[in-house]
């Protein structure tokens, strides 16, 4: 059992299986909004589904359209239950906040 203490960016709580990567994730172009799978070529999580997971990775990268991809995943019910980042940046943070039916996110 590992305990991580962080700063909450958005309210909520979740329980689930952790999916961990040491590589940053680009939601735009890197995650398929239809299936919730990582599709970035050569990514260590390529082909894995992030749906319902506690997704742990260092930080988001790529286009800011990524926020809308997180929203799309959420509304389709295939978003991660929570996201834990080393460094919080706006793409991921905004993606987590913009939906009404929000989960939680911490860094």
């Amino acid at each position: 059992m590992i305990t991580l203490k962080g700063r909450a960016i958005w309210r909520g709580w979740a329980r689930g299986e952790a999916l961990v990567s040491n590589q940053p994730i680009s939601f735009y172009g890197g995650v398929d909004p239809e299936t919730g799978r990582i599709i970035e070529k050569g990514h260590e999580l390529e082909g894995r589904s992030i749906a319902g997971k506690i997704l742990v990775f260092p930080y988001g990268k790529g286009s800011t359209v990524g926020s809308y991809i997180i929203l799309r995943l959420k509304r389709r019910g295939i978003a991660p239950k929570a996201i834990v980042n080393l460094r919080c940046e706006p793409i991921i943070a905004v993606g987590a906040i913009i939906d009404l039916r929000s989960d939680h996110i911490s860094s």
Binding site: S63, T64, V65, S67, Y68, E89, V94, I98, D99
Partner: protein
């Protein structure tokens, strides 16, 4: 972060759902970046307009905001996925066009102007020096910061929209003097022109990391070249601001501007960019300029280079409706179209459903246009000067 009484009321929902949601986003960003307070903005530019990037869920989100939301400052829109007037003629899919029109309707309901361009500063949204603004669209951000001396962080579509609805943005990053100083000086080997600046931007974007570049020893650079340079810097490096000694306003204001780190670009490095952005044995399906959207001057240059020869390949110039209207009045558009060139508005080669239009390979003078065509749309690419594009088009 400090909020005024008014801002607290906005956050508590007294002004409705759209204002509250917007403030939630802005306060969260302010907390992440440890902003002291909010600052009122003069304008906003919104990306995330194409249905291709928003999808059904993004469209719903905008429609929900539009139920009780309205922007508080002049706000303009990035290109969408279709030419609003000619999408049928140009072969855009019907179903996509319908969704796209719904997105635009929702933005209009929010009080946003239907400029549909990545060059809002050529279409009535031109910030003044020192203005605080909240812009998305990386090529517009870098132009506003660098060439106009306005102040914006690298906003995304949702945060720029939130700022427009709330009329404010958290005060941090590039809104503050201390974060606008250069971190690396760049010297170029010899004077460049046109697409050479696009290649330079692509190269420097990569090597500068998160440092703001200061170009030294550049003499003349046109507004069009500043845009190609900026778009490429933002594309390869996510750079939101650059300075050019003696040319850009903040560098002019401070002639002693220097950075501790220096980099001298070799001619070979520029050549490597040309090679990297050129796939071999490609006979492009589509030749285009206009990433960022072409100015009236580029329309005229393209027409002059054609020397009355008709194009034999699909050749499109992407521009804003505002610039096309001007071109129509000057007779430039009619002449271009008579020679077979389509002057396409409201959309761009990156956000249009370009594969559905049957395009598999392109040629352009924009490093950004080339890179996204390959990496986002999966196309084969050629990157070449405008003169060569014209020759390729008429061959």
């Amino acid at each position: 972060m400090y909020l005024t009484r008014e801002e607290e009321r906005m956050l508590e929902g007294e002004y409705g759902y759209a204002v509250q949601k917007s403030m939630e986003i802005l306060v969260a960003l302010g907390e992440i970046y440890e902003a002291e307070r909010m600052v009122e903005i003069k304008s906003a530019q919104i990306s995330g307009v194409s249905y291709k990037s928003l999808g059904e869920e993004g469209l719903e989100f905008i429609e929900e905001l539009a139920e009780d939301g309205r922007v508080r400052v002049p706000t303009t829109l990035n290109p969408c996925g279709i030419d609003l007037e000619r999408w049928r003629e140009l072969g855009f899919p019907e179903e996509f066009a319908e969704k796209q029109l719904r997105v635009i309707k929702a933005y209009l309901k929010l009080g946003i102007k239907q400029t549909l361009t990545c060059t809002p500063y050529l279409a009535g949204n031109r910030p003044r020096f020192g203005d605080h603004i909240a812009w998305s669209e990386s090529s517009a951000i870098i132009y506003a910061n660098s060439v106009l001396g306005a102040r914006t962080n690298r906003e995304g579509g949702p945060s720029a929209l939130a700022a427009a609805i709330a009329g404010r943005t958290p005060l941090y990053g590039l809104h503050l003097d201390e974060n606008r100083v250069p971190g690396i000086e760049v010297k170029i080997p010899k004077p460049l022109s046109g697409y050479g600046y696009a290649a330079l931007g692509f190269l420097v974007g990569r090597l500068a990391g998160d440092k703001i570049p200061l170009f030294r020893g550049m003499k003349l650079i046109s507004d069009e070249e500043l845009r190609l340079l900026g778009a490429a810097l933002a594309c390869s490096g996510g750079i939101p601001l650059f300075h050019i000694e003696g040319i850009t306003p903040e560098a002019k204001l401070n002639p002693n501007m220097r950075a501790s780190e220096r980099y001298e670009v070799e001619a070979d490095e520029i050549k490597e960019v040309y090679e990297e952005l050129n796939d071999h044995d490609v006979d492009p399906d589509l030749i285009f300029i206009g990433c960022p959207h072409s100015s009236i001057r580029e329309l005229i240059i393209f027409l002059e280079l054609l020397e009355d020869r008709a194009v034999k390949k699909k050749t499109w110039i992407f521009t804003s409706r505002a610039t096309r209207d001007l071109g129509e009045r000057l007779g430039v558009v009619e002449k271009l179209e008579r020679l077979g060139v389509k002057v396409v508005c409201d959309t761009c080669p990156i956000v249009a459903p370009i594969r559905e239009l049957g395009v598999r390979s392109i040629a352009t003078n924009s490093a950004k246009g080339a890179w996204f065509s390959r990496n986002l749309n999966g196309l084969k690419i050629r990157f070449m000067p405008i003169e060569s594009l014209v020759e390729l088009a008429v061959k």
